[in-house]
């Protein structure tokens, strides 16, 4: 089997893990779990492995230096600089246009955490095998709770190493999410995909011809600068941004999925980080991520500080985040609203 081409996406803002994550230093580039950043972990998952070609990283100009600094010495790695943030479909299409058309590409968001890299690798190989047969393959993350913050995939007929996708569903309400979980037929759509590059571009041309045309133009008029590629800003900026799910996955007749149970978390907010760190919690469920912290009569508290000491009494299921000149205190439930705070929204 030919090597899989990892495409590492570095888009996304910096609001939901504010104040640690900011527009200038967003989630992928932070060491949220462990010593390496999420971006470095994404790179490491596909590095030094003959099954994977060197990665193609897609990032905005604001983060190009961060990418280069954190990428380190990965032979053959390339960087595509997006002239504008246009969501995932144009970013993926750029990569597809730059790869050999028969290459299988593996779309790797760099703002997710995966606890079990071996399970990731196994799913990637299964997905690549289906992609080589011109399926457009999603990782179907095993759902373990009725999460209303993710899209879902419903499994259809079995395929070798996976399943056809019967349908994609957008973020459901609580009742629907509970029904999905109970049915056993649904997985989370984690935003990890495998495509044959040419097949992806053909599907894009079929369902979003204007986007396909503008991406092709941006690549044709683009310029190389060492290992960096700069698509032409004119045509790229003219694209109507859209996710790959909307633009392609929900429209194709060839959608497939591979089940993936790999300790995945999108670390979508501070409560999700606390969940992902649960194995380092003490007997009361408290987690100290960084800094000097004293907790009295607390349960389920996540505390992290880059400077001042944190002291807390009597709290339950609360996250305390001290970073720079900001102090954030939120319930776990409230954590999903962090992006609405003036500090996070007005960066």
């Amino acid at each position: 089997m030919m090597a899989i081409h990892p495409v590492i996406l570095c888009g996304g803002g910096g609001t939901r893990l504010w104040p640690v994550s900011t527009l200038s230093l967003p989630k992928p580039f932070l060491p949220l779990l462990g010593a390496e950043t999420l971006f470095q972990q994404a790179v490491a998952r596909v590095a030094g492995d003959a099954q994977f070609a060197p990665p193609l990283v897609v990032a905005g100009a604001a983060h190009a230096d961060l990418v280069m600094a954190q990428l380190g010495d990965v032979p053959g790695a390339r960087l595509v600089i997006e002239p504008a943030a246009k969501n995932t479909a144009p970013a993926i299409a750029l990569a597809a246009a730059l790869l050999p058309q028969d290459a299988v590409m593996l779309i790797c968001p760099s703002d997710h955490y995966i606890a079990d890299p071996a399970a990731f690798r196994a799913a990637a190989l299964a997905a690549a095998a289906l992609a080589a047969q011109d399926y457009l393959v999603s990782f179907g993350i095993t759902a373990d709770r009725p999460e209303t913050g993710y899209g879902y995939l419903q499994r259809g007929e079995p395929l070798a190493g996976g399943f056809a996708v019967r349908r994609f569903v957008e973020k459901p309400d609580r009742v629907a999410a509970e029904a999905y979980l109970a049915s056993g037929e649904y997985s989370w759509n984690g935003g990890i995909f495998a495509f044959r590059a040419g097949k992806l571009l053909a599907e894009l041309a079929a369902h979003r011809p204007e986007m396909a045309r503008l991406v092709a133009e941006a690549v044709a008029q683009g310029s190389n600068d060492g290992t960096r590629f700069h698509p032409a800003p004119g045509p790229f900026s003219a694209i109507a941004g859209e996710s790959i799910d909307y633009a392609v996955m929900e429209n194709t007749a060839r959608a497939a999925m591979v089940p993936a149970s790999m300790g995945w978390s999108d670390i979508g907010n501070w409560a999700a980080l606390a969940d992902a760190m649960s194995e380092v919690a003490d007997d009361a469920g408290n987690i100290v991520r960084e800094g000097e912290v004293n907790l009295l009569q607390c349960r389920g508290v996540l505390a992290t500080s880059d400077g001042p000491r944190i002291s807390a009494i009597g709290l339950k299921d609360v996250c305390i985040i001290v970073s720079g000149n900001e102090v954030l205190v939120t319930t776990r439930t409230g954590a999903q609203a962090v992006g609405k705070l003036p500090g996070a929204a007005n960066q």
Copy 2:
């Protein structure tokens, strides 16, 4: 009637309102409510009023400079520097020994808040009238909740402008506190007293002869330095520290009380400060004392910062205190345990 001699006590540690209150800058010297510090408010309550003589301030050496700086230009004010912290009985006895023996002294703690100075003044005049008749008079603060953190006074026979005290009771348990509140016979012992100086010393000599002897010796061997008086450290340090309640009030046959309904609070912890600030709370009961604060879906939150911005989501009845290099987050209920935190305990 002769002028009342205010004795302003500046003892007490800095643990329960930590981290804003510290050993080096304890509660009396902080502007906790309003622009003036509690000490300045205590001075102002008896200043510029012909009923009151200039104050005698009793403080530890560590706080002498704070006292002088915050006292400002109060003609005739004197400062007694305690060589050691020995609780209230020796501090009050020092003042009594330095005043004319027929002077009526009014003991004013400087770490309490009084919302209604006019009511305080009226109670002080009533107390002084009883003290002039050689009663040892406590202010009986109107109890409005079954507080277990205070001592109580039980009213006895009526006297002119007050009542005899039937008994003093130590901090009760919840059941007892509720019974006291329901009976209508009990008031809080707020630590505000009026005595004739000579009478106080005579009672002390009767009930605590050794303390009375050592205080007399410390005064006799003490030295003046401008408006400051330094009791002799040798005898004073030999005193076994004790509260005026234990040493005298619970033993005398001449205990009296004047009812005082004056918006009193000892601001004993952050929850008490929140209560005392309730009139500046917003519709959700949130109070921003200082700093830039954004609250989302919060109720009953007190937030104060001397620097970093505070953002909070989803909290109920929580105090968030940011001061210097410390961040404290406590439930209102947990606020009474602040002194047990390492930061507060190990100053």
